[in-house]
Amino acid sequence: MDPALLLEPTILAQILIQGLVRGAMYALMASGLSLIFGIMGVKNFSHGEMFMIGVYVMFFVTVVIGAPFPLGIAAAAVVLFFVGIVIERALIEPLRRRAGRDWLLDAFVLTIGIMVVLQNLALIVFGSRRRGITELIDGHLSIGENIVVSYERLMIVGVAAVVGVALFIFVRYSYAGKAMRATSQDPEAAQTLGIDISRVYTYAFGIGAALAGLAGALLISIFPAYPTVGFHPIIKSIAAVILGGLGNVQGAVAAGLLLGLIEGYTAFFMSAGWQSVMTAVLVILILIFKPAGLFSRRVERP
């Protein structure tokens, strides 16, 4: 590795752009996970499978039916919203009622069971063949001579930004968003004030799952549909959620971007295989030294 490359602006810019695109993907995936964690405290390990279902819905709507791709993305979000609601109502809610004090750890194990079931059902129904679309939109943007970025990647960044802002506005200003924040701060007090917390949990889980589905549909050209496609996204989302501070949605989005950049540079300066080690080490360091996340001012919990 030639250190002189470090000073080459076009190369640095190219990595920066790739890192940003990758970061936008992680941010999108992590936002749903972070929302569920922030409001319910549940670490949803089946989030990657929500992502996987989203990719399949996208494939079905755009390739099998032949509808335009924005419709596929919308369909994925809607389908996953209902999948999320059903899972929450049928499995997580009963566990919460049954397990008592330490139910969060049990809920984590329960979502592992959901992961195993969904992954293998997908294998039975669809087989292990990869189904994807090479490009949603063709063409690319060139800046100068060496910096090239495809329109599709730009769209991914754009959608991630729009979703991030929409989520922020929803959580901050809407009534449902306020109810969610109240529930996450103090479920008992929220209940006393007339908020139906079990409904809040259900919707939070539904929205979180919808975000995973949306991410899956949007990223179909990068992650084609196959049963274990959710594995990589879930790991990256968990990493982003920890780096950003568990339950801090904006933090998770920022951490997703940061993770993308770090990985972009690691991949360039070291072999690509070390990316995952870098991510893991980074997460471990954060959990040791700043367990509440990079962007938290509060010193509390773990």
């Binding site: 670490k43 499995l91 009963p94 566990l95 049954r98 397990a99 008592g100 004090r101 330490d102 139910w103 969060l104 750890l105 049990d106 984590f108 194990v109 329960l110 592992i112 069971g113 959901i114 992961m115 195993v116 079931v117 992954q119 293998n120 059902l121 294998l123 039975i124 594995f231 790991i235 968990i238 990493a239 920890i242 568990l246 072999s271 295989g273 070390w274 995952s276 080690v277 991510t279 893991a280 080490v281 997460v283 471990i284 959990l287 040791i288 367990p291 773990p302």
Partner: protein
């Protein structure tokens, strides 16, 4: 308390109970040699190995409430230490297995130190990434570990005149049976001593335990280090039994951890012996249903969900009817 259920109500060794233990031990000793089939021996080895690993897992989660979600990485540490020691330096696997235990114990001690400030889910997350870091480090250093190409391991040397060349697996089975017996009795004696009470206090209410003057730090470190040592030993055995190691997610990653965790939960948390029974049930079930392909894993996942929702004490919940 939810995680694990009440301690054993009566542990008295009645005549009936001694008879039951004797029958089970006799079955374990007699079935593989009498069946004299490589298949049966393999199934018994898998069940015993996974059962013991799940019991060690239970020693952490069911007793002290510490969840190690990077558990497969600790098995990998033991397995690769022993395999690499033999591969690069020609170290006798019997010594190698102990080295594997020592390396895993050091790792466990380190993991315990860095998770001291955390609890529950956060311990799970940290150990998960620790396990992944170990696995990816192995797959990224093919010049030492042969990475995904697979590292072939030497068989054990002949012990007490028994032939460990893997031509017949029965010596491996009996070595494992001896190993598992020692490990189980060791853990059993620990959880019945004052350590067991301390672990339970840790699990139930760390703050209360601490305010009563118990050094929670000390017991956490102890629990994690001992469990990791035993895990490393099992990993070392596994390496030399298996013959080839590769750092895939199925072997040393998330899927292996989930498998062991499921066996532990199905066997019953906080029962120590439950996971051993759970392993025979699960492994038997998996072998029996091998023909139905992925449906097997769907059933496996459903079983875990069922246990979490409806049978929270797992198989150990049946104890009062049959034991």
């Amino acid at each position: 308390m939810n995680a694990g259920g009440a301690p054993q109500a009566s542990d008295g060794l009645t005549a009936a109970r001694i008879a039951k233990i004797a029958i089970l031990v006799a079955l374990l000793i007699a079935v593989p040699p009498i069946a004299d089939s490589r298949f049966i021996t393999t199934v018994f080895i898998s069940a015993l190995m996974l059962g013991c690993l799940a019991a060690i897992y239970d020693f952490m989660i069911g007793y002290a409430g510490l969840i190690n979600f990077g558990y497969a990485g600790f098995i990998a540490a033991g397995a690769y230490t022993s395999a690499l020691a033999a591969f690069h330096f020609g170290i006798n696997p019997v010594v190698g297995v102990l080295m594997g235990g020592a390396v895993a114990a050091a790792l466990g001690f380190f993991a315990a130190i860095i998770t001291l400030r955390l609890r529950g889910l956060y311990i799970a997350l940290l150990t998960f990434f620790l396990g992944e870091a170990i696995r990816f480090s192995i797959s990224n250093t093919p010049e030492y570990t042969r990475g995904m190409l697979g590292l072939s391991t030497v068989p054990f040397p002949d012990i007490l005149g028994f032939d460990f060349s893997r031509a017949t697996l029965l010596p491996y089975y009996f070595l494992l049976l001896a190993l598992v017996t020692v490990i189980m009795l060791f853990m059993w004696s620990l959880v019945r001593s004052k350590y067991g009470l301390a672990f339970k206090a840790l699990r139930e209410d760390e703050l209360a335990a601490e305010s009563l003057g118990m050094s929670t730090t000390r017991y956490k470190l102890f629990n994690f280090t001992v469990a990791s040592f035993l895990t490393g030993i099992m990993g070392g055995y596994y390496a030399h039994y298996l013959g080839i190691l590769s750092p895939t997610p199925e072997e040393f990653g998330i899927f292996r951890t989930v498998e062991i965790l499921t066996i532990c939960y199905i066997g019953g948390r906080g029962s120590l012996w439950g996971p051993l029974f759970g392993a025979f049930l699960i492994v038997g079930f998996q072998e029996y249903f091998r023909g139905i392909g992925p449906w097997r894993l769907v059933l496996f996942g459903l079983l875990l969900i069922f246990v979490m929702l409806f049978a929270r004490r797992g198989l150990a919940g049946l104890k009062k009817y049959v034991w």
